[in-house]
């Protein structure tokens, strides 16, 4: 139904104008911290340490970003960006693969211990990594996985959200398809590859968006296990750029790094908005 016809409910004229004003004000307030960070990343340190800092961008954009990316403070930000990218993609891809496989097994097979297994993975939904940090750290240290990508990735894919999502989705795939595959003598894995995976494309993509953000934005876990600056991720590395003493932090570099840290997730969220919203709604069901 076209909403334009409901003149009685929709505001017109001054009301509509006011609505836009409120909306724009809201957006400006929400955006203000990002704008300030951007401005700070384009001026010199001297501009910042004599407050108030300017509100419009300066001419140091290229210098500050070049300096951050290739020199940084403890380690070039380029290195941290790469680490974050590997971690985020590793978590997203790893979690999607193991959950696709186990959801397929739960839905399409009858095997002993299926229910037990189902309830065990249900339990993993309940305990975020923040709660079990000390023993998980000991396990990872015991495997010699401190300061490694596998140490960054594996403990964070040990949760069953994605398995549940795929299970829900597989249950909606018509039984006739599996029946036909069985009559044709197709083996289960063939059915998996030719029917189940292609049908799950949208769900996989939506989940990828959510998991990528989740992985990229991790803070506590990388903080614990990457003691070597070369392995820092960008989100946890920013805090490491602050001096420990009473010195002034080098704000232009830190703010350029903050902007760089938000660009990949913002691109993913804004660029894949529809998938993102779908993934968000799905993963909260």
């Amino acid at each position: 139904m076209a909403r334009e016809t409901h003149g009685m409910v929709e505001k017109r004229g001054s009301g509509l104008w006011l609505t836009h004003v409120f909306m724009i004000l809201g957006v400006l307030v929400i955006f203000f911290p990002i704008w300030l960070a951007f401005v700070a990343s384009t001026v010199t340190q001297a501009d910042i340490i004599r407050p108030p800092m300017p509100v419009w961008p300066g001419d140091q954009l290229w210098n500050n970003y070049k300096n951050a990316l290739f020199s940084g403070i403890n380690v070039p930000v380029g290195t941290m960006l790469l680490n974050s990218l590997i971690m985020a993609i590793g978590i997203a891809v790893g979690k999607i693969i193991i959950s696709l496989l186990s959801a397929f097994a739960i839905v399409y097979f009858k095997f002993p211990g299926r229910n037990l297994f189902f309830w065990l993975i249900f339990l993993t939904l309940m305990l975020p990594v923040e709660v079990r940090i000390v023993p998980t750290y000991e396990v990872v240290a015991g495997f010699g996985m401190l300061n490694s990508y596998s140490g960054l990735i594996f403990p964070l894919i040990a949760s069953a959200t994605a398995t549940f999502l795929f299970r829900q989705f597989f249950l909606t795939i018509p039984d006739e398809l599996a029946e036909a595959a069985r009559v044709d003598g197709a083996r289960p894995m063939r059915f998996f590859w030719d029917i189940v995976v292609p049908m799950s494309r949208t769900n996989i993509a939506a989940l990828f968006v959510i998991l990528f953000i989740y992985g990229w934005n991790q803070y506590l876990w990388p903080l614990l296990i990457t003691t070597d600056p070369e392995m820092n991720t960008i989100v946890m590395g920013i805090k490491q750029m602050f001096p420990s003493g009473d010195d002034f932090a080098h704000w232009p570099t830190i703010m350029a790094t903050s902007i760089l840290a938000m660009i990949p997730p913002v691109i993913v969220v804004v660029g894949m908005q529809r998938l993102f919203i779908r993934g968000l709604v799905d993963s909260e069901k």
Binding site: P33, F111, E130
Partner: protein, 293 residues
């Protein structure tokens, strides 16, 4: 719901679930079990041996003034974060819902902060309120207000609350907006014909229809403030001043990794485990209802 068609065999499904079983066992069940086990012991000062103390760690914790304070801090913090992120989000969603055109553009702009990691949000807000260079603190100073969250516990709490709520506004906005769009227009029109003006319609019709979404967001935001705000606290206040912003998750970290008090930290993990369990039950109870409403 069950599939009628099942494939046969046990080896293939066993192989299919193996990766998840192994990863959950090694990185989830074993550490969780360790947390429970370690909570019953106190290591000696050199970390060479462990002494069994039963529930001693828990007794000690519950009588510890700082731990009890941390519970109160967490409660205050999560209530404030939830309110500060839900009320502006609802307000923006109601306005956006009134627009026929352009709401998509605003939505695109408003979801930005969701993508910003809590730790990065912490750095952005720290920058604005920094006692020496912060723009906001400088203008407050011009107005005669001496902002110093490094010394003032109330200001520190205010700052971590706002920094934590900021990104959540986007998240809540998306859910409220979707729920508002789903409110049947005929109901609103009927009320409008009866002469109910906008705010009256909002309070008596729209808000009650939003209650499933509101309740869902309440639980989700509390879970968020409990477990995902570590980055904000660590970057802005590191739990200070005088532990006024030490929420439970931060205390697990600072006792376990900074003070190396493993027994206490494990006991805290176990207590948190119970808290998460309760919140999860609450969430699932509600989801069951929501599916059938």
């Amino acid at each position: 719901m069950e599939k009628r068609v099942k494939f046969k065999g046990w080896l293939l499904p066993a192989l299919l679930i193996a990766p998840q079983v192994v990863i959950s066992a090694v990185f989830f069940f074993y550490p969780a079990g360790q947390a429970i086990w370690q909570s019953l012991f106190i290591p000696d000062p050199f970390g060479l041996s462990m002494q069994y103390v039963g529930l001693g760690n828990f007794e000690f914790l519950l009588s510890d003034r700082f731990y009890r304070a941390s519970f109160v801090t967490t409660a205050v913090f999560s209530i404030l974060v939830t309110l500060c992120s839900m009320i502006p989000a609802l307000f923006l969603a109601v306005i956006a819902d009134r627009l026929i055109k352009g709401s998509g553009v605003y939505r695109t702009l408003l979801i930005w902060p969701y993508a910003v990691a809590p730790a990065v949000a912490g750095v952005l807000w720290l920058f604005m309120f920094n006692t020496r260079v912060g723009v906001v603190s400088w203008y407050l100073g011009q107005l005669g207000y001496d902002w110093n969250h490094v010394l003032n516990g109330g200001e520190a709490m205010g700052l971590v609350v706002v920094a934590s709520a900021w990104g959540r506004i986007s998240y809540n906005f998306l859910f409220f907006f979707a729920a508002l769009q789903a409110v049947p227009k005929s109901v609103i029109e009927a009320a409008a014909i009866d002469g109910a003006h906008f705010w009256r319609r909002f309070w008596t019709i729209v808000l009650p229809l939003l209650s499933p979404t509101t309740f869902f967001l309440l639980v989700v935001n509390i879970v968020y403030s409990f477990f995902e705000t570590f980055g904000v606290i660590h970057t802005i206040t590191a739990g200070g001043p005088q532990q006024t912003t030490t929420i439970l998750v931060y205390k697990v970290y600072s006792d376990g990794f900074v003070s190396q008090d493993l027994g206490s930290s494990s006991a805290q993990s176990v207590i948190l485990l119970v808290v998460v369990g309760l919140l999860t039950v609450l969430q699932f109870k509600f989801i069951e209802k929501r599916v059938h409403y």
